[in-house]
Amino acid sequence: MRYAEVGYNLEIDLATGNIEREETDPGLIAAHLGGLGTSVKIHWDRVGPEVKAFDPGNLLIFSSGLLNATPAYSANRTVVTFVSPQTDLLAYPMMGGFWSAELKHAGYDKVILSGKSPDWIYIWIDDGKVELRDASHLLGRGAVETQTLIQEELGDRNIQVAAIGPAGENRVFTASIEQGRSSASRLGGGAVMGDKKVKAIAVRGSKDVYLARGAEFMNHMKAVTEYVNFRNANPIPDVMTILSGIGSPQEMVHTDEKWHTENFMWGNARTRRREFWTDEISDLWASRQHAAIKRLISCYNCPQHCGALISYGDTPRYMAKCFGKLTYAMAAYVDDLDFSWRILRQATEYGVDSFSTPQILAFAVELKEAGILTDADFEGCPEDNEGRFFWLLEKVAKREGIGDVLADGVYYAARAIGNGAEEFDHNTIKKHEQLPLKLGTLDPLYFLMYSTNEKISITQIEGNWPQAAFPSREQRETFVKDWPQLPEETWKEWLLEWEIRGEKAIPYWPTPDISAKIVDWMEMLHNIDDALCICAGMASFCLKPPYHIHNYHLLISAAAGVDMSEEDVKKIANRNRNLHRAYNNRRGMTRADEKPPEDHWKRRFPELEEELLTTYYAHKGWTYDGIPTRERLEELDLKYVADDLEQRGILHHG
């Protein structure tokens, strides 16, 4: 009997059509938990550093986590792993929705796709039975409409479908995998799926998932429920609205966007619009948002309302969440949410990431204004900001004309276009577009998070530590008073001492040593969530969340029947992170790659930055170059990794 996990993976060799149901090693829970942890292990074992994103040897793994389909709130993420066409590193975008629990009820923990299909197919997993079905009639169809078409074709609206749109078919590097109200968007999972000629994976299941000690598990969930209710009733004071609650940012609920619109850099991460949020804009945007949102919705087994059904005028319906509400309009300098709701629908059907894609489109506009791209490149493009963005989006999604080169993302497009275009690539890290933020003084915590994490996307590293110091001592005391999530009581002092200005302010406070500890803690929480497939919005991504380092082990032990202490869970998360890091090191990633864009902060401190990086590496047990040491790897039972890195000359003996 297997508990919490199902104990079987579905292996599909797309080249031959061979389908296997593979039993997994029960010991993997104690070693890697599940989700991202066990997926990284599979990539380590089976995909060598010579394999590129569009090689048949690149695996595309859709994974549930250890707690999906259990009664744990918000355990609904699906983690998709693959070598990214954009970074050439192991990417792991995640989506919420309903897919992963359904997969477990269908009898599988993971779907592992290898090779490439000769013809376009979709995969139909029906309670353990698996079919590869012709998808030629779905080609060119949107990612949302494909989901509906497959449900209709198979005659069941309760089938959960993860699908790509035309952007994925055309291997656009920002192509997403869409599912219900969610998407796995970053780093080109949709492109890899398209390269394998898999249009969609449909799943339906009615099998049991077992809890080892169900009553005990529910008892722990009672405490979690009480805290969820408490946090929903008591938003955190003295922080901006968007950070005050739990769940992922409640962008569909809140209409006040003063902070985002005035503090982020818009266009191609270029312009800060300090006086943007006028009364007039505030009224207009609120009315547009209320007109668009038909209903606030959640993912599987989650009490929050992070998503929405969008029903806006003549625009066909779709579902939206989070930050995409702002990114297209602000990148295009269109000061009206009306544009957002229309273009977001188009972008969702094409199936593209709404973080990177608007920046790519704005980058093209900048190059045109600078005379680097020409009228010939923009032939047929409307003159107005809205029309231009719709036109560019279509070109990118279909890889037509100038869209073909833009579809590889800002980094590669800049180098392919040349003629000074490289200067306009000013917001990428490890070749990937980042949040459009440009700030004043270097922040030590953010410097480390931007530079070092395997996620390569800041929003899914930060979370539990406040983004900035509180102005008054009183506010700090209020904040730390009720903070059970913190690993050690003594850490409260670091926050109490943290000032807005002076010696105990950024860039010198938190000190490199403290910064390393705080960042290590925050990313560990994300690594645990990603192994359990719990939404970061209820754990690692928000202040004072219901799930934290002091209760994860209780839930894991009761669910899986594998008894773990807090220290055991920390060790597993550390093991998973080091394995992922070693995997990326094996692909060539080193210290030289770990740097934020030069203009990310106006005031930089090169010596301090070097010290921060070195201190953090030392804290992690890594070499000066950011490679895990043999000692650290052996502590984490990863001797085989140390041997491999040494053999390849990446880690030097002694």
Partner: protein
């Protein structure tokens, strides 16, 4: 006939508040598992959220009575411009559909209001107050409670007819 007081249990469903999470299905299946909370499977749940996302339909429906035969006709409701599924509001476990049948045995499932609990589990688990439990007392005519044995005999009579059952009982009596 004498009057007695009867407790009427009711779950008020405010479908407009439903965020579609299906937590009610999860907790229902876990609660009714043996041992309690040992398995999770929405397919065994006695409440299902009938969902048609793009049509803005999220409708929690509780499992009602088993019926051996389907209706002579079907119904389709359109409310506020939204067309609900055929028989969408019906709670019956009926041959016309798979709803509320145990996935392994095919046996009918029925909501028992989590008998023995103060409040049904789905109500407790729904943090968005879509499901609200209410109790009231009603004066009703006293009824003779039908025992399990009587229900069994009734069912035999329904299937084979009174005469056949009477003959059978007579034979058994003779045999003894």
């Amino acid at each position: 006939m004498a009057k007695v007081t009867k407790k009427v249990k009711r779950i008020k469903i405010d479908a407009d508040k439903c965020n579609g999470c299906r937590g009610c299905e999860i907790i229902c299946s876990a609660y009714h598992a043996t041992p309690r909370y040992s398995t999770i499977n929405p397919a065994r749940s006695r409440i299902r959220v009938i969902t048609n996302r793009l049509e803005d339909i999220w409708l929690p429906v509780f499992a009602g009575e088993y019926t051996a035969a389907e209706c002579l006709g079907r119904d389709v409701y359109v409310i506020d411009g939204k067309e609900y599924d055929e028989c969408g509001f019906c709670r019956a476990v009926c041959p016309s559909r798979d709803l509320f049948k145990d996935p392994d045995s095919g046996l009918p499932l029925k909501c028992d209001m989590c008998e023995g609990e103060e409040i049904p589990q789905c109500v407790q688990w729904c943090l968005n107050d879509v499901l609200v439990y209410e109790e009231r007392e009603e004066e009703v005519d006293e009824e003779f409670e039908i025992t399990m044995a009587e229900a069994g005999v009734d069912s035999l009579i329904n299937q084979y007819g009174l005469d056949k059952v009477a003959d059978m009982v007579a034979r058994r009596r003779k045999d003894r």
